[in-house]
């Protein structure tokens, strides 16, 4: 899952290094526009619907957190 997600995000956002930090949102690497784009890509690729209450910084701060989130709703 992790590798598949990383490949997808690298393709969508070549300028962002998703492994650079464990605090992607808190460090300002991912802003709200990018988070929306990431979720949109995830929903398409993995066919999951992520409820709004899960859109909190902790769930998008790292690749591992995002992978865990997808698995939770798959």
């Amino acid at each position: 899952m992790r590798e598949k997600l990383l490949a997808l995000l690298r393709e969508e956002y070549p300028d962002i290094d998703f492994e650079e930090s464990d605090e992607l949102v808190d460090d300002g690497i991912l802003d709200s526009l990018t988070v929306v784009g990431v979720i949109s890509a995830i929903s398409d690729e993995f066919n999951v619907e992520i409820p709004y209450e899960e859109i909190i910084p902790e769930n998008f701060n790292s690749i591992d957190a995002m992978a865990e989130l997808i698995e939770k709703y798959q």
Binding site: L33, V36, G37, S40, S43, D44, Y52, E53, I55, I56
Partner: protein, 525 residues
């Protein structure tokens, strides 16, 4: 007698309030003192009759959040031993039930705000007593736009299970009527405030001193700089036909400084007041004119309003499954870039139209919202192209000169935005531009006639010096915590700074019959 945060009356009220507050031995008793303080404050700020609307709102919010909270609690009990899938299904079911309660709360609370906003457009009477309420005569509580937004946020947070429903109605009531924030915000998460109600600390010299410094700093911004410059801008915008060229340009520039020092000064007083009590409020400003673009500006100016729109309008719209499906289909047809632009532009434009209408219901506020929406959408949609321009021109984007120009552009964005609403008329920006290019009137800078429009030469210089001080403090505060740093300095130096601030406020603050201490501009929204 009116209660404005910059009045001597408020400072006196706060002093007496704090003495009683610190005499209370327990947080619970301090909570009741705050509630009593809220009612006393509101009695002078707007009257107890309008306050009853806020009380009704608070009770409604408490009942609905309690109902939703209970629904989730029961669901969690049932789901304790289930697997993840069954648990998700159960939570979804509880959410579906709670959606009706959320909708009821939103319709009633937002409905009232919309009714008042529309009523103002239709020139309904505003009355001061419950018995006078009719369909065309409305009772408008002070601070309506602010507490409504905070209340909506709290309802949504409980619905999304981002906040726990508060069981104690006294806390909900005290949070919704909390006097430092009731008139101009900041818009906040009530659960953050209510958590602090449990742990309100006793007297601390350091906190009181820091809070007092913040209050005096706010007073300095408001009554030394803002009220002074406003004397000039109100003269010019009030009689626009008589002013031309440089006179109008100066008024446009001064107008930006007026609203910045007015609103951020008010926030300093508000946050400082709460700090004295040991309550931390969210910041509303972070040196906004150091921003290098439109979107960044709104992350630094009226921060809590932008954050509210992001959390409760932008993200829910952008994340709506149907909307996502639609942008997904665009991705397949027109590619990822197009889909990404649409998925941000549509919710952004909606957010900015609503932000405009939040500020005022006239057509000029709508245009103002669209203006900012276009700037921000263009900035995000064309970010890759815009990034390439300096590269192609060989400009060093790290240089001070380039960054200074970016900041100047932010100032211009804001100044132009203010022109939409500056003279209060529908065609405000057209009038202003027409006057600006009519004549240049450059000679007024040199023959002294500039100083005949509400602000004499001495006052102009005082305001200018004040702006320089604010600018320096803004620069310093990007590098250090000023009050903490000051506390480390030798006693003589420290007190010299404190005295200088207090004396500046006492000597240069505008009082007396010549100037009427004006209310804060953001209190009317």
């Amino acid at each position: 007698m009116t209660m404005s945060y910059n009045s001597e009356f408020y400072i006196g009220f706060l002093a007496v309030f704090l003495i009683v507050y610190f005499l209370m031995p327990r947080p619970r008793l301090r909570l009741f003192v705050i509630l009593a303080g809220n009612m006393l404050f509101y009695k002078f700020a707007g009257g107890l009759n309008p306050m009853s609307v806020i009380f009704a709102t608070a009770i409604l919010v408490w009942l609905i959040t309690m109902k939703m909270g209970r629904g989730y609690e029961e669901c969690e009990k049932q789901a304790a031993d289930l697997d993840r899938k069954a648990k998700n299904a159960l939570i979804n079911e509880a959410k579906k039930k709670n959606r009706k309660w959320l909708a009821l709360g939103l319709v009633l609370i937002l409905g009232f705000l919309i009714y008042i906003k529309v009523g103002r457009v239709l020139h309904f009477d505003e009355v001061g007593h419950i018995r006078d309420i009719r369909f065309t005569a409305m009772l408008v509580p002070v601070g309506l736009s602010y507490y409504t937004f905070s209340a909506v946020g709290y309802l949504a947070d409980v619905y999304w299970r981002k906040a726990k429903a508060e069981k104690d109605p006294v806390k909900v009531l005290t949070a919704l009527t909390f006097f430092p924030i009731i008139i101009e915000g900041p818009i906040l998460h009530y659960d953050d405030l209510m958590k602090q109600f449990d742990e309100m600390p006793g007297f601390s010299y350091e906190r009181l001193s820091f809070g007092a410094q913040r209050i005096f700093w706010g007073l300095f911004k408001k009554i030394v700089v803002s009220d002074r410059l406003a004397a000039y801008t109100t003269t010019v915008f009030g009689n626009l036909g008589e002013f031309f060229g440089i006179e109008v340009l100066l008024a446009v520039i001064a107008n930006v400084l007026v609203i910045y020092t007015d609103f951020s000064g008010c926030m300093d007083i508000v946050i400082g007041s709460a700090e004295c009590m040991g309550i931390e409020l969210p910041e509303n400003f972070r040196q906004p004119f150091f921003a290098k673009g439109a979107a960044e500006f709104w992350r630094r100016w009226h921060i809590t309003l932008g954050a509210w729109f992001k959390d409760y309008v932008y993200m829910p719209l952008a994340m709506n499954p149907r909307f996502m499906k639609w942008t997904g289909s665009i991705r397949k047809k027109a590619g990822a870039r197009a889909s990404r632009i649409v998925s941000s532009a549509v919710p952004l434009m909606i957010v900015w139209i609503l932000t405009g209408l939040w500020h005022g219901t006239g057509i000029n506020y709508l245009l103002w919202g669209i203006y900012w929406g276009i700037l921000i959408v263009a900035e995000t949609a064309f970010a890759p192209e815009l990034k390439k321009i300096p590269e192609k021109l060989g400009v060093n984007t790290e240089s001070f000169g380039y960054q200074f120009l970016q900041m100047a552009r932010t100032f211009i964005y804001f100044a132009v935005g203010r022109m939409f609403t500056a003279d209060g008329s529908k065609g405000s920006i057209i009038h202003i531009l027409r006057q600006m290019v009519g004549e240049h009137r450059l000679w007024t800078l040199f023959d002294g006639s500039l100083y005949e429009h509400g602000l004499d030469r001495k006052d102009f210089y005082v305001a200018l010096a004040g702006i320089c001080v604010i600018w320096i403090v803004d620069i310093l505060s990007t590098r250090m915590k000023i009050r903490e740093e000051l506390a480390e300095q030798p006693l003589v130096f420290r007190w010299l700074v404190y005295y200088a601030l207090v004396i500046a406020v006492l000597i240069f603050g505008l009082y007396g019959p010549q100037f009427v201490a004006s209310d804060f501009a953001y209190g009317v929204f």
